[in-house]
């Protein structure tokens, strides 16, 4: 009975008793969730356009952040470094298309998936070779990202919001909205979805695969850069960051691999669920829930909706 009380009743009683703490936890969950959503978005972009789970997305985040920091430490002014990093991400997308994807046109998805492993290990090696293996600090100040926090008196206590987090949430929202419109409403967006469904049919209506792939990998690179800046500002910029990308997996399972709104809602559910779980239920089992709680949430959803919350219905005529 004690256990029942501890799991079902006590956490909620705590929430009701200290609404300021709850608000704080929810906010932190929201910020974390938004950043998960950003990572997941990178995956969704490439999955939508090529039906491939891009294993390299995590390392692209690290690579983008490293390039930015590396250029700045080499003496390039911050915003020029940002521009140059964008150029680097474009070159990367172009190279991946030329060297990896083009020879694999019309191959089964699993082959393309394996190719993204290759890209991952190449980027790790190349990144370490150029920038070295030690952790670096994100150049938040040079980029005029605000620091410190705003403190509100609310809910019978104090809630403090990191300024950086507020900016992250705003930037992520804009990015997500932009990409949503891009996919559903533009000619290129339609072409992207077409390429995902059938390479040969896309070619036959005059869609250029080369061009589409460069665009989509470049878009994923930009998302990676933004993610890298904000994640890097919260911890530091090192190759350990690419593990965070694995956090995107439960988000994708939840939201569906092909849905942009899904990535957002999935990210928020995972982010908030994770924080609530950690804060209110974690102590029951001695903490350490953040490594696996996200996957449990995803599993529970999977039981009820195998295609994810927003995933395309699985259509199969037999």
């Amino acid at each position: 009975m004690d256990l029942f009380y501890n799991i079902i009743i006590d956490p909620f009683a705590q929430m009701a008793q200290a609404p300021d703490l709850l608000a704080q936890t929810l906010w932190e969950g929201l910020v974390g969730g938004m950043l998960y959503a950003l990572i997941a978005l990178g995956f969704v972009l490439i999955f939508k356009a090529s039906g491939v789970f891009n294993f390299a997305q995590g390392i692209m985040v690290v690579f983008a952040a490293l390039t930015l920091v590396g250029l700045h430490t080499a003496g390039v002014p911050a915003f020029l470094a940002l521009g140059l990093t964008i150029v680097v991400m474009f070159v990367l997308a172009w190279t991946i298309e030329r060297v990896v994807l083009r020879p694999l046109v019309n191959q089964p998805d699993i082959i393309l998936f394996m190719a993204t492993f290759g890209i991952t290990y190449f980027l790790i090696g190349f990144g370490e070779f150029v920038f070295g293996g030690d952790p670096k600090i994100m150049i938040t100040e040079a980029l005029y990202l605000p620091k410190g926090s705003i403190t509100y008196k609310a809910f019978g206590g104090v809630v403090s919001l990191q300024r950086l987090d507020i900016v992250a949430v705003i930037v992520a929202s804009i990015m997500v909205a932009g990409l949503g419109v891009f996919f559903s409403k533009t000619r290129i967006g339609r072409a992207l979805r077409a390429v995902a469904d059938s390479h040969s049919a896309a070619l036959s209506v005059g869609i250029s695969l080369d061009q589409i792939w460069v665009i989509v990998w470049f878009a994923a690179g930009l998302v990676a850069l933004v993610t890298g800046i904000f994640w890097g500002a919260r911890s530091d910029v090192s190759f350990a960051l690419d593990v965070i990308a694995l956090k995107a997996l439960p988000v994708l399972i939840l939201g569906g691999f092909t849905s942009i709104p899904g990535a957002i809602v999935g990210g928020l559910i995972i982010g908030i669920g994770e924080k609530l779980g950690e804060f209110y239920w974690g102590p029951l089992i001695g903490g350490g829930t953040d490594a696996w709680f996200a996957y449990v949430i995803a599993l529970v959803f999977l039981l009820f909706r195998p295609q994810g919350l927003f995933g395309e219905k699985i259509i199969e005529r037999v």
Partner: protein, 266 residues
């Protein structure tokens, strides 16, 4: 009207010609030394037994395959290599033997995808759905709706094509090709796997496309009745070699063709 035995309809200049084309995959010769032409406004059939190299021929024409030897002349321009993208730009559209549609997208979106090359407004306008992009989108949508009316698929325009029965998928695929407003339309077995009624419908559409839009059509078909009814001229391939070329009647009475189809006693 084209009826079997009827007079050949006068057709225009040569639109596309294939000259001494050879294609092999490793040791397998798919097409060897084939030449023929397609004239403006005609319906040209490519027939032959299984493995004759018909689909390879179509893939060569729209740039999926690059022949090792020979040349393709399209609209007076000779090219050794042409990419599918260029073919589409030049006005060649096609359908596939095993329907290749964008399965997750609706019939309407599939056909709209055929307009890709016709859209020119700036990407940012499209993103904002404002100004010239909106006007353009509406114009393209109008053309697409015309095609939907023409093919009588109004009621399925919002259905994801993966859910449609085979016959309708073939029709959507034809619609997507038509949306490109092609000069040359390549149809790879448009009636394969259809019942009698569906075949008649499809034949009607093919003839109507040819009549109304004046589109030149090259088609591969197995049903001899259909081929004889539809086409102005027929080229016959067997084991990658051209064995006959002429009007349906000439081809029907050609000894080499009869042998290829029925087998010869040695």
């Amino acid at each position: 009207m084209r009826a079997p035995g009827g007079p050949e309809v006068a057709v225009g200049d040569v639109l596309l010609s294939v000259e001494n084309v050879s294609l092999s995959f490793g040791g397998v010769k798919a097409v060897s030394d084939v030449s023929f032409d397609i004239r403006k406004g005609e319906i040209r059939a490519i027939i032959g037994p299984n493995g004759a190299g018909k689909t390879s021929m179509l893939n060569i024409i729209n740039g999926f395959y690059h022949p090792q030897q020979g040349r393709i002349n399209f609209k007076g321009e000779t090219r050794a290599r042409m990419r599918p993208h260029d073919a589409a730009h030049g006005g060649i559209a096609r359908t596939f033997q095993n329907v290749a549609l964008f399965r997750g997208m609706t019939a309407l979106d599939n056909i709209m995808a055929g307009r890709t090359l016709k859209m020119h407004t700036n990407f940012f306008w499209q993103l904002l759905r404002y100004g010239p992009a909106m006007t353009e989108e509406v114009e393209h949508r109008r053309r697409v709706e015309e095609i939907i009316d023409f093919l009588k698929i109004q009621e399925i325009r919002r259905t994801p094509v993966g859910r449609l029965p085979y016959g309708l998928q073939k029709r959507v695929e034809l619609g997507r090709a038509l949306a490109m407003e092609p000069e040359l339309l390549l149809l790879d077995e448009p009636m394969a796997g259809m019942n009698m009624e569906e075949k008649e419908d499809m034949s009607r559409f093919v003839l109507d496309v040819n009549d109304h839009y004046g589109t030149t059509i090259a088609l591969i078909e197995h049903d001899m009745g259909v081929v004889m009814d539809l086409s102005d001229r027929v080229v016959v391939l067997d084991h990658g070699i051209k064995i006959a070329d002429g009007t349906p009647n000439e081809v029907k009475s050609n000894q080499a063709v009869i042998d290829a189809y029925l087998g010869v006693a040695h």
